[in-house]
Amino acid sequence: MRPEGNLQSKVVRRVAPQSKENELRIILPARENAVRRGLKSIKSGLGPIGFSSDELASLELVLAEILNNIVEHAYRGNEAGIIEIQLSQTTAGLWCTVIDTGAMMPNGEPPLGMQCDLNCDVADLPEGGFGWFLIRELVHDLEYTHEEGQNRLSFRMSIGRLN
């Protein structure tokens, strides 16, 4: 390893200092099929430690929306992209952080995700734009930063609270 220009050393992982036994960290390539496999690993990792199937379903939906947005919009199909997911179980619920090095979110903030207007003809019904609405319905304390080429999205879900 060269001490001077080692790119890896620049990617500082700011993992919160919490007990390791309640943390899960997954790194996956920015591909739709890898996202599917990653979600499966997360579900099978959290199922045995007290998360109900309803709670896991909410988490899977939120992470699927976020990860697929990263694959599609941040990396724009560049399959060399890497996504990191950190999950930490606390008394306030599950804290999640998703990190990528793709494009910044439009205007530097996560979309608002408004409820779509459905009072229209069938032909005019929206076929997209539900993702951020669903995310915002299901998460708390959403925060996003873009620093040194790194997108960092963190939020909390009221699931799997530690006693």
């Binding site: 739709e32 099929n33 996202v35 599917r36 309803d54 379903a57 899977e60 939906l61 699927a64 929306e65 697929n68 694959v71 599609e72 409820q115 779509c116 459905l118 069938v122 032909a123 019904l125 929206p126 076929e127 997209g128 539900f130 993702g131 609405f133 669903l134 319905e137």
Partner: protein, 114 residues
């Protein structure tokens, strides 16, 4: 993406033989549904009984399938898992679709009405 279908008198039941409709298969689902409704009778029932996961891409694809039916043709949904039902409910899409508890009640609905 595997879609099986079975035709009754004036209804075609399309069964999704996969446990998820997500970003990885939404386009394929949309295309296959279009083919099945184009050549189908006046009423299509989409049996989602095997689908345990549907994300916004999957929801968009189901909406696209509704928009693709021809004039006078209907697309209805049946046997939604609670997780799938919730996505329809949160987005209010449950107000747009006719949703049946099961495929048999959906098909019987026609028998009773005729």
């Amino acid at each position: 993406m595997k879609l099986n279908h079975q035709d009754f008198e004036d209804v075609r039941v399309v069964c999704v033989d996969e446990n998820r409709i997500d970003a990885a298969c939404a386009i394929q689902f949309k295309d296959e549904m279009r083919g099945l409704s184009e050549a189908g009778p006046s009423r299509i029932i989409l049996d989602l009984g095997n689908v345990e996961f549907l994300d916004s891409s999957g929801l968009g694809a189901v909406v696209a399938a509704l928009k693709a039916v021809r004039h006078g043709q209907r697309l209805e949904l049946a046997a939604l898992h609670p997780t799938v039902q919730r996505v329809f409910h949160l987005t209010r899409m449950d107000t747009v679709f006719t949703i049946h508890d099961s495929v048999s009640t959906a098909v019987e609905g026609v028998a009773n009405a005729s």
